[in-house]
Symmetry: C2
Subunit: 390 residues, 2 copies
């Protein structure tokens, strides 16, 4: 069990007919008694913000950070849909609230799929009674299935620390593919915590996991991570907060790892570390510059240890940089030191580059700033996935 | 005639054995009498600056903006080569200076090719007497040929305004490919002008041409544009400066257009206009965000008018943005207005998208800021070109 592992939660997934190809496409995660509990969320930074993001944010504001349920659909992002899209997102929440007998503001909403296409909201409302009726304590696999788009597997995780359990489900094939272009995650916990505490542990957990995932540098219009806390584990004590923070961070890291591993079209998962930057901010900018470099990503696809491209990416990242201090290593193989090539075992390096998982380290030699990103290569299959929406 | 069209210049190209596959790889553009004339240059902003860029900049500083010759090689970028690389770049200049009987500081140098590999400088010095000996008034095609890497054709242009002639040659397949990763251009003119005037007209000309080219968002370590002025057209008069500025801008635009048209692996040349931004700076950032979006570039390859991706790129560009005001048009076909899809002739749009040259306009509805970039799609062939350096 994952999102229903923490006491006090139920889940469901049904086929509403939103996905043209059929299959489960409407999901629910709710409190077992349909009462609102403390909740928190982090959202995309994209200003082309999708309707469900706007509605979820306004609902959490209206309730002071409490929610009874999250309704999620795949097959349509309800993004770039204007005022009508916002009406549709509100309609989705209201339909669930009617069935659960809670307030519409106590329902949060997430959507994923194509941008700029009106949501067939009548299919969602028609399927909502069946969705809510199907909710149960072991419905998490159906829910996780219903938010998949081009994901090749469901993404679920659970972590226990002390008395606290955190469960989570997510979708996102790390590589933003045409029919998803979104990362969604719903986490549940039985911890007793305020909305403020939940917001802080979620923000911290997301920073080191979801926000360290860089696939193609594109930020979705719909990215949302929601955390709901039932409090069923009993009153908070001295350990609750740190246990909760640890478990949330663990589930976020698990789900992010599952996304990186499912990067469609990708043949490599690359953990890229930048060290020795003048500041942590510089390190993040530098790591992101390398992780979004088309040239460098193509070289990973070709298993080519072409460190000159990485050095070039770092040099053009707009950070403090000294070309005579940069060191680059592929796994244990240091190929450049002080800005120039150094002797290394080319055969062993070639074998290393053929692996699916690569660890690449760039040391700038300027300070103590460091950052890590999880990213992928740029492959023929990525182009295939993204050249047509249909 | 191109770089030798303005009176007072000669050029040559020879095979020095730098390119593993053979062929012309060492070029010279020089004044006919080997005397230093006013010159100017603009360079890459990449801080992983290649040795020839550092040396050319220091030579222009040392001479107060005068030069007698430019020596250029393909097959090796002499970048990420440390102090030894800078010695090699100086050695190239000194070898040419010996043959021309000028000062080493009066020779400028450009290199293009792989990064991080020591330059076989002894091959360059061995070939230098033959290179200098081969210089002549119709040597521009050999010179333009010798700076090609994956370019599929030579890039040359000439423009005349009043008494002023400007000639130019360039290399760069717009799409940064493994064996080049660099844009180089040498322009010559017979105008009588100071180094300061040359710097200003070159900076302006480059801004609207080379600097508006966005292929994969990668900035090379070696990008260099040099302009030399012989003064052979006679003393400057009231019209010289504007004629020179016009002709330099024309040659820069011609050469940039030739690069965009030669983007290897690309199937589309896209002129992307952003209008109605809150500022010109916002418009440039927005245009560049769209032009470097892997998702959007894949959709162009697929001839897919998926405007939602463009809207998403704009929304995540970090500029002032209102999702309810954005309008997107492919050529004459407006597909979204006020942030939502609008009816359009889908068949006519499909035919439009099948063309090689696309004009895409995004109107933000916020102000009068505007910018244009020339860019390309992201294709299978791009991945092929860039996945291996050899």
């Amino acid at each position: 069990m994952t999102v229903t592992a923490p006491r006090g939660f139920v889940a469901a997934g049904v086929a509403a007919g939103i996905k043209p190809a059929g299959g489960l496409d409407l999901a629910l995660v709710a409190t077992a008694d349909a009462r609102a509990v403390p909740g928190a969320a982090v959202f995309t930074s994209n200003r082309m913000t999708a309707a469900p993001v706007l509605v979820t944010r306004s609902h959490l504001d209206a309730t002071g950070g409490r929610a009874a349920a999250v309704v999620l659909n795949s097959g349509n992002a309800n993004a770039a849909t204007g005022a009508r899209g916002r009406d549709h997102a509100e309609t989705m929440c209201a339909a669930v609230a009617t069935e659960l007998a809670c307030r519409p503001e106590e329902v949060l909403v997430c959507s994923t799929g194509l941008i700029g296409i009106p949501l067939p909201v009548e299919r969602v409302t028609a399927a909502t009674p069946a969705l809510v009726g199907a909710r149960r304590g072991d419905g998490e696999d159906d829910a996780a299935e219903a938010i998949r788009t081009t994901d090749t597997y469901r993404k679920e995780s659970v972590a226990r620390r002390g008395r606290v359990t955190v469960g989570g489900m997510a979708k996102g094939a790390a590589m933003l593919a045409p029919d998803l272009a979104t990362m969604l995650a719903v986490l549940t916990t039985d911890a007793d915590a305020t909305p403020e505490t939940l917001q802080e542990v979620l923000r911290t957990g997301a920073a080191d996991s979801f926000n360290a995932l860089v696939v193609d540098g594109c930020t979705s219009t719909n990215d949302t991570v929601i955390l709901l806390a039932s409090g069923a584990a009993g009153p908070a004590d001295a350990r609750t907060r740190s246990d909760l923070a640890d478990a949330v961070a663990q589930v976020c890291a698990d789900l992010a790892g599952l996304m990186a591993g499912d990067a469609e079209g990708a043949t490599k998962v690359v953990r890229l570390r930048v060290r020795g930057a003048a500041s942590a901010a510089d390190a993040r900018v530098a790591a992101r510059a390398v992780a979004t470099s088309q040239l460098t990503k193509c070289s990973w696809y070709g298993a080519d240890p072409y460190w000159g491209r990485i050095a070039s990416d770092l040099g053009s990242a707009g950070i403090a940089f000294d070309p005579d201090r940069v060191t680059v290593a592929y796994g244990p193989h240091t190929v450049a030191r002080g800005g120039v090539a150094v002797p290394h075992d080319a055969d062993a390096l070639a074998r290393y580059m053929d692996q699916r998982h690569l660890e690449i380290t760039a040391e700038l030699g300027l300070g103590s700033g460091r950052a890590t990103v999880l990213t992928n290569d740029l492959s023929h299959a990525y182009v295939d996935e993204n050249m047509r929406t249909s």
